[in-house]
Assembly symmetry: C2
Homo-oligomer: 456 residues x 2
Amino acid sequence: MLPASVSSYIDKNRQAFVDDLAAFLKISSVSTLSEHDEDIRSAAQWVLDQLENCGFEGKIYQTQRHPVVLASSEHIPGAPVLLVYGHYDVQPPDPLDEWETPPFSPSTRDGYIYARGATDDKGQFLTYVKAAQAILGAGEKLPVNLKFLVEGEEEIGSPNLEKFLREHRGELIADAVAISDGAQFAPGIPAITYGLRGLCYFQLDVQGPRFDLHSGGFGGIVENPAQVLANILAALKAPDETVNLPGFYDDVLPLQKSEREEMASLPVDESRIRDYLGVPEFTGEPGYSVVERKGARPTLDINGLWGGFSGQGAKTIIPARAGAKVSMRLVPNQDPGIITRIFHDFIEKNSPAGVKVKITDLHGADPVLVSRQTTAMRAAEKAIAAGFGKKPVFIREGGSIPVVNLIKKHLGQENILLLGWGCPDDGAHSPNERFSLDDFHRAIHSVATLYYEIGV
Amino acid sequence: MLPASVSSYIDKNRQAFVDDLAAFLKISSVSTLSEHDEDIRSAAQWVLDQLENCGFEGKIYQTQRHPVVLASSEHIPGAPVLLVYGHYDVQPPDPLDEWETPPFSPSTRDGYIYARGATDDKGQFLTYVKAAQAILGAGEKLPVNLKFLVEGEEEIGSPNLEKFLREHRGELIADAVAISDGAQFAPGIPAITYGLRGLCYFQLDVQGPRFDLHSGGFGGIVENPAQVLANILAALKAPDETVNLPGFYDDVLPLQKSEREEMASLPVDESRIRDYLGVPEFTGEPGYSVVERKGARPTLDINGLWGGFSGQGAKTIIPARAGAKVSMRLVPNQDPGIITRIFHDFIEKNSPAGVKVKITDLHGADPVLVSRQTTAMRAAEKAIAAGFGKKPVFIREGGSIPVVNLIKKHLGQENILLLGWGCPDDGAHSPNERFSLDDFHRAIHSVATLYYEIGV
């Protein structure tokens, strides 16, 4: 049970906490673009400052690329340990011209704060800091030992986190882990996520002639790399929208009957989602519902493609090269290593002799299922009910959080709470990313409650 | 026969003529990009100044977009009239980073002048001006009535030329037309072109969701516009490299036996061409030779494509939109209007309900065959033999020169001389476009000779 003093402190400091979030969101900590390396360092320092202000002891650890912040609250003998994971890096903000207000100038309107990282993951992660600050600010003592692990490479696949976890294993041992880097099921329907999709992400580069050619002079004798790319990309999907790689579905764990029933019972307003997305019709694998397709079935998407002339008007060339980014969302028990091999084999078989096709493996993540039958899960259910005023539903989410597998593997930890405070229409990775100020406030209540429920 | 005084004048002024060409090439008259509109006007003025310096009377005519230069030499009663067509506009220079020297800073090395427009069409066109200047400079009188028609919209499909020809029909009547906007068959093998391919050029824009989506959150339920684009582009070609549009080949005039024999007799160094292009293998329609495929058979090429994330690293999105430029080279008797309708029908049939696909018609040109049995052709043969020291071969070229059909249609003129002074490896439309200084010099000799042969 959350002491009334803490609850009241959270209510009184609602605006101050939003102001802190806005300060965090002003830092353009885009991890994939090296011109933002200085911003990445500023964001790590900002996180450490926040934790030190709560009396935590912490440090910024350099890795081969972006630093990790590690901090612990003052040790309480006998109390359980909760490890909180978050990430301070964000996705690139482009396409910039689609933002109503600039991505790194947080703007508050209609009950939302708009900025890149608002929900993914700065806003969600910050609730754990603000909950601790509220308990201490209300004059209480923390009821649990807290450890914070905050990285800056989540959006590029956490390439240096595994090494870090291996080297800092001793400092990271905990009784449970909490991660808020996902979403509620829908606005007003809070959720606990027990499944995540994995990821395989590739870049394809097709090299044709040494330079762009006049399509009049050479059209008809030279393999066009953009055509080769289109042929390969088209071949990756079957006409019924299933993934066309041989063996792709071999290791997919079928959904249990009880899960399918549970998913079918979730209230889905498909027309609201279509309106929000602006798509006239949904598509996807036959035989599965929207909830199943977006959370519990594997998919393949082209994330980008380029090549040749894209300016105004006409330029009659055969481009010298063309390329694409392609990724697959995986489900238990698909193995990113096996899928990577299948993908490479398929591309090689579909590459004609007149061009060179290069595949770059950009990142991968295992799919995840965590046990729902744990005391930590019961504590999280109570905490969410207290903060949001209603019991959470249990869901499988379509995104990937690579750290979850690393924590399972290197810390031997299965007690992982995936608590999404954002909403599916918050625009994570999209222009006009936002976070509901009400949800931010409710989540701080929930996290503070969680600290007490776990700590009891 | 060319008077010795003219021939000697051309030889003595070799460098001065190259300097004038360099001045012309410095003007970045890119017609497709509106930021170059001022350069377009400068180039038109430069052309008019050159012609006025030869005693021509001329004028710059505004059109809805880029101006046309029209000029005539002093009238010689009883002499035939030769209409010279050229264009002072050029293709965009991108990709800029592949130029060894900047595209609008002409650089002379190894016997070539390098710049955008060197061969297409500034260098080739200028030979007609310099030949007239040489005759007059040598103290001779022009043996022929010359009219120059020089436009600034060739690289964007000459959208305003038809109206201009209709309105200025009376001023343009001639006994023959000369156009040098193509190439020799190969270096050292001068050619007269009697066939040109036509063109249909389209832009496809596929609109999916309102904004880029997180591929984890929405992968599996939303049609991916980049995938739709790839599927459409792949469907345009059959596995054997033929164009897959129903009815595409219906109106193709089969090559005559004599033409195929003539084409087979042309000396083609395929391995030299492959090395120049940097492609390990040629490709294309089965059953036809390289010469036939690149000049006398229809093709389809993707000229560019774009969509989603193309930056460094990984961004896990479903792009909101994707697009491509697609064009077809047509041969006699394919009709761009019919092909356009076939293309639209095919795209509409292949567009799924979850996206919007928009087609923009960017430009079109009829294919061309001109008669080889004319006195003007015999004059051109003699002129080329005099300038290049060897008789020309007769070829069909893969590119399009939209003006040729307009001249046939509006001036009723069938006597069209297509005399290529450039070479296929001059890099028209490519980075490091160039023109051989020897060929420039030989071509001026040839044109001066042509004036006498036509004028006799």
